[in-house]
């Protein structure tokens, strides 16, 4: 009997971690799919901002992990 109560308790406890409670379901992602939700919503603007960043920092490649940003390229 105790084991049944234990199982019941575990099921109830784990149901708290149900993906329906903690995860945004695929059919609920309408607002995530909007352009404004992307990290760089306007491609041209992101490019321009990158260019300004390079000028301001006086370094080429410093905006990515590929180059060190030392300006010696």
């Amino acid at each position: 009997m105790k084991s049944l109560y234990f199982i019941l308790g575990v099921v109830l406890f784990l149901s708290g971690c149900s993906e329906h409670l903690v995860r945004v379901m695929p059919y609920e992602k309408e607002y995530f799919a909007q352009d404004k939700m992307s990290l760089s919503p306007i491609g041209e603007r992101a490019e321009q901002e990158g260019h300004i960043f390079l000028i301001r920092e006086a370094s080429a490649g410093g905006d990515s992990s590929f180059q060190g940003g030392c300006g010696c390229r």
Partner: protein, 165 residues
């Protein structure tokens, strides 16, 4: 007492199970996308093979497969095989705008599910999701994600199998 608890537990777990292949379809009554004053019920589709597609205009996979569905529907009379779209867009105009670009002749039966009742009932793990339903309302196949040309050919073979042609 133990048996009763065990049965209750199993029944409770069963409540959370998503409909699978072999199960009956989820019954619905949804308004037509183009004319929301008219409803379509799932029972009215009995006697024909149905591909129920849960989609949204904001879902890129849904957009990709839609032209394939239009072509597929044109190959079959609706009395035999019908593609039923159920849009879950927040506004029906979004779905209409997109369909106007791919389904100008309104070949596809389009419904509007504002409350997202069908994806909730089917517990869709992805968008789009499609369900092939036989003449008796049983789920024959489940497709998670968009269908490509290869998948459409397999679907045609399945339809031929179900119609016996």
């Amino acid at each position: 007492m133990k048996k009763l608890l065990l049965i209750t537990l199993l029944l409770t777990l069963n409540l959370f199970a998503a409909p699978r292949v072999g199960d009956s379809e989820v019954a619905f009554t949804l308004p037509n996308l183009y004319n929301e004053s008219t409803n379509l019920t799932s029972s009215s589709l009995r006697g024909k093979i149905v591909l129920l597609n849960l989609w949204a205009s904001w879902c890129s996979g849904c957009q990709e497969e839609m032209p394939l569905f239009v072509n597929l529907q044109k190959e079959y009379p609706k009395e035999q095989f019908e593609i039923v779209l159920s849009s879950i867009d927040s506004e029906s105009s979004f779905a209409k705008e997109f369909l106007a670009t791919v389904d100008k002749q309104k070949v596809l039966t389009s419904l509007y599910d504002e409350s997202k009742s069908l994806p909730k009932a089917y517990r869709c793990p992805g968008m789009p999701s499609s369900f092939l339903i036989d003449k008796n309302g049983k789920i024959v196949d489940v497709y998670i994600g968009s269908l490509d040309d290869v998948a459409i050919e397999k679907l045609k073979a399945k339809i031929a199998e179900l119609t016996g042609k």
